[in-house]
């Protein structure tokens, strides 16, 4: 188990270095630089040069790249070009919004996905099963921002029971919940659909298994059959659920745009536009860390739920 974890950590570290380098190179390759965007459209060449010096962009690429890693090792993500504040401060400010949104969307998609998938799998061919199939097809086929706009049209404009956009300025947990309801549902629709499909397929597979057939042949109650299937199907779902959680961060980028939420995604979009390299790198570090954490969690959960995995 320890060797296995060490191996996966090492490969994740290599991935991390590659991702960070790729993002750095990509930001460097994009035309238009932060100094120019900072000094404004009317600025003279001298003013742009002054901005470039101030942002430390006059140093060669390789020096800046090395510096970035040096700072990262000391836990310093650098200062934002645009906001003139430490990137860590900005991330800490943004995380509650994205974290709350991701958590709400995650819970919703797990409950919905597992619930619908399980029931559909236990009743193949039924009207309920066909309904779930219909939902998962639509949920996966259409882009999530489309659901966002439709939800806004229905619940914020035609029948205004929920707020249109943004975050409440004050108002406590209740106000937050109201503002996060539509974005969380938007994020959960395709993810729950994905999970429901997977759960349904896994349940169907396990229902064909010998031990379930035996239960059924012995005339065991439906609840016993249910328990057998659930216990055997669950471990196989841990990994996809954890991966789903890791990928939620990218989903929030689009949804935060649609709903005007000041989270990490909105920050990232703004930072790319302003060529704010330290912020883009910082957001990437965060995304990679979440992804790595979720991967490890999946491994551990799998090991806990399935005795066979512990042997490996």
């Amino acid at each position: 188990m320890v060797a296995f974890l060490a191996r996966s950590l090492a490969s994740l570290a290599v991935t991390f270095v590659m991702v960070m380098t790729l993002v750095f190179v990509a930001m460097e390759a994009l035309p238009g630089d932060a100094a120019m965007l900072r000094s404004g459209i009317d600025a003279s060449a001298a003013a742009t040069d002054a901005a470039r010096r101030e942002l430390g962009l006059d140093a060669p690429v390789i020096v800046r790249y090395a510096q970035w890693w040096g700072d990262l090792v000391r836990g310093d993500l650098g200062d934002s070009f645009r906001e003139r504040r430490p990137v860590t401060t900005i991330l800490v400010e943004r995380l509650p919004v994205t974290g709350a949104l991701a958590l709400a969307a995650f819970s919703l998609s797990v409950v919905l996905g597992l619930g619908l998938g399980f029931l559909a799998g236990m009743t193949p061919g039924s009207r309920f099963d066909r309904g779930v199939l219909g939902y998962t097809t639509i949920g996966l086929a259409l882009p999530e921002f489309w659901f966002g706009f439709v939800l806004l049209l229905v619940f914020a404009i035609a029948w205004p029971v929920l707020p249109l956009i943004g975050l409440p300025d004050g108002g406590g947990a209740g106000a937050w919940l109201r503002h996060l309801t539509l974005p969380a549902i938007t994020l959960a629709i395709p993810r729950a659909a994905q999970l429901a499909r997977l759960t349904r397929a896994t349940v169907l597979e396990h229902r064909q298994a010998d031990w379930v057939r035996t239960v059924r042949a012995k005339g065991g109650p439906a609840s016993l059959e249910f328990r057998h299937v659930a216990a055997n199907a669950s471990p196989g779902l841990f990994a996809p659920i954890a991966l789903e959680a890791g990928g939620l961060l990218t989903g929030t980028i689009v949804v935060e745009q649609v709903f005007g939420l000041p989270g990490v995604g909105a920050m990232l979009i703004g930072a790319i536009g302003a060529r704010d390299v330290p912020v883009v790198q910082g957001a990437t570090v965060l995304a990679v860390l979440v992804y790595v954490a979720m991967n490890l969690l999946a491994d551990v959960a799998l090991a806990a739920g399935d005795p066979r995995a512990r042997e490996a």
Partner: protein
């Protein structure tokens, strides 16, 4: 009797309501500040907010003229090089009084190129001194009439000298003398300001202002109609009719200082021929472009918005004449399969749409246009600056308080993105910049504007309308002419 009682009750209710409820004005706007340090930024979106937090020595009035603010009066010596300002009694949000030392520290900070992207506007300043606590004297190397406009612009803000010396983080914790004090800023969310009860020109009547950053204009309009927003900063062309037809909201459309153009790269083959550039102007129906892409506007024939006092009245728009355009193109020997590369700035939907209309109109006179939509960073780095890789592009040049800001560099083929080559204009402009007599200055700029019409580096559309909208119960909100800053000082909500 019954009637009297009822109106008395209603009056009582009304007063108790107006006393009991804190009046917060919510405005939705698409662009947020990059920082709240007025000396460090160059973004219009920043100055729109900092206008409420900081005051400048002088400011732009509703009629576009320069008015006293922190300087109650000023005088300029006959040779134009010694400027004396009398300062108002005002207090910074941190409680320290405003005096000449604060003005000196602020101007010195502005002149520091490592702090301010606008430092070059202040290079003529030789020395600044405090005659006494309430009198400021600025000595210049040469007459610089445009300096007054710089002092009236958002970046001319006055900051407390003690905090400047202590290297205070104005970008995130702004402190000024303005009518509103900084409260909270959630980036991509909102900026909240609270009324300054000690504002030297009288406390505002509303208690606070919340600027909400909403990029989608359709969402802004929905929020206005539902009453979530009191004011919205921009109305998309498609929504103008919706808003104009409602009783509970008011649409305000006023001429803006933004000159909309198709910019021509004068360095490129055939485009270096003035006849071709004139032909392109004649081939474009500018009023249609303004109406369809920009929701209306007024045509212009030179690089200045119509109605601007610096624009000579005899400069007329080109007019739409495709026949003559074709004749001029033939005369210039333009080949049949001539194809131009048009780079359009992706974040500005209106310019992209205008570009598509121009593409259609030019096709009518036999000029092919291939459109390339580019991201803003690319537009700035490769079209406006850098390699200047474009034949045509569509953009708006925002209003400037002084013609130096608008015309600076034109005529010098390397100084501007269009590469317009006119040495006469270069010398006229340098003469005008140091001319203290306003009538003589106007004549010089008028001459340049004539030249910018005749051998034009642009296809001129005209000036767009600036539109904002507010709930019918909101009064007193206005936007500064040319600078487009928000002024909430006299806003009331019924």
């Amino acid at each position: 009797m019954n009637h009297v009682v009822r109106s008395a009750l209603a009056a009582l209710l009304a007063t108790s309501l107006s006393i009991g409820v804190a009046q917060d004005l919510v405005m939705a706007t698409s662009a947020q500040p990059d920082m709240l340090d007025p000396h460090g930024t160059s973004a219009t979106s920043a100055f729109q907010s900092t206008k409420s937090i900081y005051d400048t020595l002088v400011e732009v009035g509703r009629d576009g003229t320069i008015q006293p603010l922190l300087a109650t009066s000023w005088s300029i010596s006959d040779d134009g090089t010694v400027w004396t300002f009398d300062l108002a009694e005002a207090t910074f949000h941190d409680g320290t009084p405003f005096d000449a030392d604060d003005a000196i520290a602020s101007l010195n900070r502005l002149r520091d190129a490592d702090v301010s992207p606008k430092a070059e506007e202040f290079t003529a300043i030789r020395e600044i001194e405090a005659v006494d606590a309430r009198t400021l004297r600025v000595m210049l190397d040469q007459p610089t009439p445009a300096l007054l406009a710089s002092l009236a612009s958002g970046w001319g803000a006055m900051l407390p000298s003690e905090k400047i010396a202590a290297n205070h983080d104005f970008a995130n914790e702004p402190i000024g003398t303005g009518a509103f004090m900084f409260d909270e800023w959630v980036r991509d969310g909102y900026l909240r300001l609270t009324a300054n009860p000690d504002y030297f020109k009288g406390a505002p009547s509303i208690d606070s202002v919340t600027l909400r950053f909403v990029t989608d204009s359709a969402v802004q309009v929905q929020g206005l109609l539902s009453g979530d927003f009191h004011v919205i900063g921009g109305v998309a062309t498609a929504d103008l009719a919706t808003i104009a037809n409602r009783d509970d909201v008011t649409l305000v459309q006023e001429p803006s200082g933004t000159v909309l153009v198709t910019s021509i790269n004068n360095r490129r083959p055939y485009l270096d021929d003035a006849r071709v550039r004139q032909a392109l102007n004649l081939a474009v129906d500018a009023q249609t472009v303004l109406d369809v892409a920009y929701g209306g506007g007024t045509m212009t024939g030179s690089f200045m918005e119509p109605g601007n006092p610096w624009l000579p009245s005899d400069v007329e728009p080109y007019g739409y004449d495709p026949e003559r355009a074709r004749a001029l193109l033939d005369e210039a020997g333009v080949p049949d399969d001539w194809t131009l590369d048009m780079a359009l700035p992706q974040p500005y939907e209106v310019h992209v749409q205008a570009g598509q209309i121009v593409q259609d109109m030019l096709a009518d006179v036999g000029v092919n246009v291939e459109i390339r939509v580019v991201e803003w960073g690319v537009w700035l780095g490769e079209v406006y600056r850098g390699d200047r890789d474009f034949d045509l592009t569509v953009i708006g040049h925002t209003g400037k308080l002084d013609p130096t800001g608008r015309l600076g560099g034109y005529g010098d083929p390397d100084a501007t993105y269009v590469g317009w080559d006119d040495p006469t204009s270069v010398s006229l402009l340098s003469e005008a910049a140091a001319e203290p007599d306003q009538t003589a200055r106007a004549a010089l700029y008028g001459e340049v504007l004539h030249r910018l019409h005749d051998t034009t580096p642009f296809i001129y559309f005209g000036a767009s309308n600036r539109s904002h909208a507010h709930r019918a119960n909101v009064e007193g909100f206005w936007m500064t002419p040319l600078l487009d800053s928000y002024d909430f000082r006299s806003v009331t909500v019924q």
